[in-house]
């Protein structure tokens, strides 16, 4: 356990919201991005749910079991999953609020296809893809966030890629 993590735990356990805020702040952007990527619709709701859950569960944070970032991301992903269950929206609906990138990867159509296809993935696959590719977490960290073995993450990512391939057509491998 690093000194930073020990300190983080003490801050997380702190009784004031200011302490808690200071503890969450470095990871706030990641939480926000994850929520934005995973949630169809009101990602801010999920984000605030996640923060509320983190506040309530802060005593459960154990730096031995993982970093503060992963712990917070796990809570965010969990809340996103719950939201998906609650609303049970059709995953085939493309997100309306996806911001078009400035220069397209190949062309705009490809990009939109990709994002639509990612949105069609299962919640678990989308979580893995988002954490690994969009947030840049290594597989070990993704496994920590998702609460599974690294091998499971790898197979989930593999499944997601093959589904994307199927979705996007034969121009992709």
């Amino acid at each position: 356990v690093s000194l930073d993590d020990r300190t983080a735990r003490e801050i997380a356990m702190g009784s004031t919201t200011a302490d808690f805020t200071a503890w969450v702040a470095p990871h706030w952007t990641s939480m926000s991005r994850l929520a934005h990527r995973l949630v169809i619709g009101d990602w801010e709701d999920v984000l605030q749910e996640a923060l509320g859950a983190a506040w309530r569960k802060r005593a459960q944070f154990d730096p031995v079991r993982g970093s503060a970032r992963n712990w917070l991301l796990a809570i965010t992903a969990d809340q996103a999953t719950k939201q998906a269950r609650r609303f049970n929206r059709a995953r085939s609906e493309p997100r309306a609020d996806l911001t078009p990138a400035a220069p397209p990867i190949t062309d705009l159509a490809d990009q939109l296809d990709l994002r639509t296809s990612v949105a069609r993935l299962t919640t678990r696959q989308r979580t893995a893809v988002t954490l690994h590719y969009y947030l840049g977490l290594p597989v070990a960290d993704v496994a920590e966030v998702m609460g599974c073995a690294p091998g499971t993450v790898k197979s989930t990512l593999s499944d997601a890629r093959s589904r994307l391939r199927t979705d996007l057509g034969e121009n992709y491998r």
């Binding site: 805020t21 991005r33 506040w55 911001t99």
Partner: protein, 301 residues
């Protein structure tokens, strides 16, 4: 042929995220414009969102997002501060209903109905504003405000609201304090099977008799609570029956709305009221609240 992994990584680089909402702690103090708590009724919509502010740091952005300075100044609190800074005032939420307790002006109950906040009837019971003293349970029956009460400062709004509240397809009256607390008159009865049966039948009768009739001229009034009696319906039962979310806030625990455990789990969240919240002159401060809620949003989002 394009590699999917390459495509994903390239997309990740170009993906633009919105700015995360501000993360800052919030403590609120609300100053009422009038001494008499009935005037608070009209402030319910605003209070609701203030409650959201108190619920957690992130919620602050939501209040700002929906701020409507054009709201009728006659109907908003005199001032709302968050961490000592003026807080944005929300406009109106079309379907809100509140009852205040004349005997305890620190306590404000806000009930937000479905259409304004979601689509799930009493699930949308999102926020309560309450004072510090969670033993200050007093009889709210005297409030006597109904949607048809001409003195009801929020009359039209309440009427509108009352047309939309449903719970699992069943019409539900706008929740007054009595309704929220449930009938408790049988709780002092002797224990034992007979007493339990009586309580159960009594509850059933009360609830049946109180079932809301949208065409009725007046809203139902449930029997007031007997002083000192415990809640007739546990919060689990109540939540189950009315789909209430498991929210916790100060005096609500005392009223059986929430469990002691949930309050104790985060005491500083659930009781963050300033200790000095007694009425002073023409203004009074109402402590922050306490609900960590799902979504609080105006009807037209």
């Amino acid at each position: 042929m394009t590699d999917i992994e390459t495509l994903l990584r390239a997309d990740a680089e170009r993906y633009t995220y919105p700015q995360p909402p501000p993360l800052q702690p919030a403590m609120i103090a609300v100053t009422a414009p009038h001494r008499h708590p009935s005037r608070w009724l009209a402030t319910a919509a605003t209070i609701l969102i203030v409650a959201a502010v108190a619920a957690g740091p992130v919620l602050l952005h939501r209040a700002a997002k929906h701020a409507n300075p054009a709201a009728n100044t006659q109907q908003v609190p005199k001032s709302i501060t968050v961490n000592g800074q003026p807080a944005p005032l929300l406009g109106e939420l079309s379907w809100t209903y509140a009852i205040t307790d004349p005997a305890d002006p620190r306590t404000i109950y806000v009930y937000a109905a479905s259409a304004g906040l979601g689509n799930c009837g009493p699930h949308s019971l999102r926020a309560f504003v309450t004072g510090t003293d969670d033993d200050a349970v007093s009889d709210l029956a005297g409030a006597g405000r109904t949607a048809d009460d001409p003195r009801h400062p929020n009359r039209d709004r309440s009427r509108r609201y009352s047309n939309v509240a449903t719970c699992r397809g069943e019409a539900v009256p706008p929740l007054g304090a009595e309704w929220l607390r449930g009938p408790c008159s049988a709780m002092d009865a002797a224990s034992g099977r007979r007493a339990r049966r009586e309580r159960r039948l009594h509850r059933r009768d009360v609830y049946r008799s109180a079932r809301w009739d949208p065409d009725a001229a007046e809203l139902p009034v449930l029997p007031a609570r007997i002083a000192g009696a415990g809640p007739a319906v546990s919060h689990h039962q109540r939540n189950h029956r009315y789909g209430l979310p498991e929210f916790a806030a100060g005096s609500l625990r005392h009223r059986g709305m929430v469990s002691r455990r949930s309050v104790n789990a985060a005491p500083d969240v659930f009781r963050c009221s300033p200790p000095d919240s007694r009425p002073t002159g023409d203004s009074r401060e109402v402590g922050a609240i306490v609900l960590v809620s799902r979504s609080i949003r105006p009807a037209q989002r």
